[in-house]
């Protein structure tokens, strides 16, 4: 059973106030704490290493899978391999997320390696949220890797959010798209203090008519550092778009490296990158509505990261 701290962290990362409906696997302090499967969604512990295999039957719809991770002991370091096999024509929501509560002096780290294998015509919405807290000296470290393999006409929509308390993150996503497949990624990131966040994306668009839309919005405060590094490769007639939009504050640093690699005459690829401080006129506008400068700043950031 989970304790009160773990329950609260679970709320932060998975918006779970109670036991979720449908299939779930809750991992706490390096061990599987609670699990439920359904007729269409099976969750199996890996035999050879830490992690789970999630099998979703073809044409499963209106179901969700929750696989949150909570770490409330200091000094836990783990690498977890989770594989998702989504059957043909299935349409499901998968909610992952990791929360670390570290009040000790040792670093806690969670390295989740998630692989998604979507069969023809499958669709998933994948939501991932990272959160850290604690008043100890130990660092909260999360290094998620996401590998995505989309077969013909498969669609994956990913939302990844990291707003608070993660000291160091190095996130990587590698995706391969077949004919007609579609990948949509929305990243929301805020760093503060001395935090460092690196996001790396590499998308290979190999099938005719596939598409990718990769958008990152981030806020870097204090002395934090962010790097957004994306590469979209168009190997077929396809459309790709990558965008990095960052608000920089205080003494932070943001490095944006959007790259496009077109190997086909009909590959249409676009990248956009913008970094800047909050516009003075935005602050003034909200102040004319009666907000203080600090309140205006909060509203602008909140909206930007929504």
């Amino acid at each position: 059973m989970l304790d009160a701290v773990q329950r609260r962290i679970l709320e932060e990362v998975a918006d779970l106030h109670e036991t979720p409906i449908g299939a779930y696997n809750i991992r706490a302090n390096g061990q599987s704490a609670e699990r439920q499967t359904t007729a269409n969604v099976d969750i199996v512990t890996k035999a050879d290493r830490s992690g789970i295999d999630v099998h979703i039957l073809p044409h499963t719809t209106n179901e969700s899978v929750h696989i949150p991770v909570v770490i409330s002991e200091s000094g836990i370091e783990e690498i977890v391999y989770n594989d998702f096999y989504v059957g043909e024509g299935a349409d499901v929501v998968i909610v992952a997320g990791c929360g670390i509560h570290n009040c000790g002096d040792q670093d806690s780290s969670h390295n989740g390696i998630h692989r998604f294998f979507l069969s023809r015509g499958a669709r998933i919405k994948y939501v991932e949220k990272h959160y850290g807290e604690g008043d100890g000296n130990g660092q909260n470290i999360m290094n998620p890797t996401t590998e995505v393999y989309l077969e013909e006409d498969a669609v994956m929509e990913m939302e990844t959010v990291q707003i608070k308390g993660v000291d160091s993150t190095d996130r990587r996503m590698i995706a391969t798209l077949a004919k007609g497949a579609k990948l949509i990624v929305r990243e929301r990131l805020m760093t503060h203090g001395q935090q460092s966040a690196i996001s790396y994306y590499h998308v290979d668009m190999n099938g005719e008519g596939c598409s990718c839309d990769l958008v990152s919005r981030s806020v870097a405060r204090d002395e934090s550092y962010q790097k957004f590094d994306s590469l979209i490769v168009g190997n077929a007639p396809c459309t790709g778009h990558t965008e990095c939009d960052a608000i920089i504050m205080d003494s932070a640093r943001v490095l944006a490296v959007p790259q496009l690699d077109a190997n086909n005459i009909d590959a249409s690829l676009i990248h956009e990158a913008a970094i800047g401080k909050i516009a003075g006129e935005q602050l003034i506008k909200l102040m004319t509505l009666g907000l203080s400068e600090a309140e205006a700043e909060e509203q602008i950031i909140q909206g930007f990261l929504k």
């Binding site: 516009a279 506008k285 004319t288 602008i300 990261l305």
Partner: protein, 252 residues
């Protein structure tokens, strides 16, 4: 009541003399009156509006609102006292929706969707199409302008300042916008101060303040000033013919 007493605003220029943008301006905007400030481009009208809201601070002079000296007050404090400001070029925000803006403007986080829609309907926007849209570059100039006006309406303050509501919008949108102000003229309590070049806005004014070269050249009842302006008998007619030609262009 808003009162400007000998307000001046200067900016440093390339040579040693400061450039005077607003020069010793004094006038009063009485309660519940509709006052239009007009004059040629570059005459200091927009600067005057910014001085009233606190976006710029006067080099000398005093600004009083309901008898309180607000000259040194911040934008936020002036807003809280009951002054609203509609920007000539409305500001865009990524992620802030029309509904969020109306909630911030009304000061009610609980402002219902239907209440918010009422404000949008009053500026001629089909509310359900806009309420959840972000105030970003996907909106046209005319749409932004109306949302800006709706946000000022939602505040419902005792003084509303509009800086060239007609700037940057097309003729068709402008026709509708005039109706919005005519409506506001009839139904709103509180003073309205509009910077405008447009004859149809001047037509619904109680008072007109004519500004030229940073100075007030004429101030009085619209029904006496306007005919002179339009007939060309006023000594200010040279200015007016200029701003008729340039009407609709954005101001400095």
């Amino acid at each position: 009541m808003l009162e400007l007493r000998n307000v001046s605003f200067e900016v440093p220029s390339e040579n040693s003399d400061n450039k005077i943008i607003v020069n010793n301006v004094s006038f009063v905007v009485p309660d519940d009156k509709f006052v239009v400030i007009t004059g040629p481009n570059g005459s200091g009208k927009s600067t005057l509006a910014k001085l009233i809201m606190g976006i710029e601070k006067p080099t000398s002079g005093q600004i009083l609102f309901d008898g309180v000296d607000i000259t040194e007050m911040s934008i936020t404090d002036r807003a809280k006292m009951g002054i609203s400001f509609a920007f000539q070029q409305p500001v865009r925000f990524k992620g802030i929706r029309v509904l969020d803006m109306l909630r911030l403007a009304s000061g009610k986080a609980s402002l219902s969707v239907s209440e918010a829609c009422t404000y949008l309907a009053r500026v001629g926007l089909c509310a359900k199409d806009y309420i959840n849209r972000e105030i970003n570059s996907s909106l046209s100039g005319g749409e932004l302008k109306r949302i800006e006006i709706a946000s000022v309406m939602a505040r419902g303050t005792r003084l509303s300042v509009f800086d060239e509501p007609e700037a940057g919008i097309d003729l068709w949108s402008f026709q509708n916008l005039i109706r919005v102000f005519e409506n506001m003229r009839e139904h709103t309590h509180g003073s309205i101060l509009i910077i405008s070049h447009q004859e149809r806005i001047l037509n619904i004014a109680d008072e007109i303040v004519l500004i030229s070269g940073g100075k007030v050249t004429t101030h009085g009842r619209a029904d006496t000033i306007l005919p002179e302006l339009l007939a060309g008998t006023s000594s200010d007619m040279t200015l007016c013919s200029r701003f008729h030609e340039e009407g609709g262009k954005s101001d400095a």
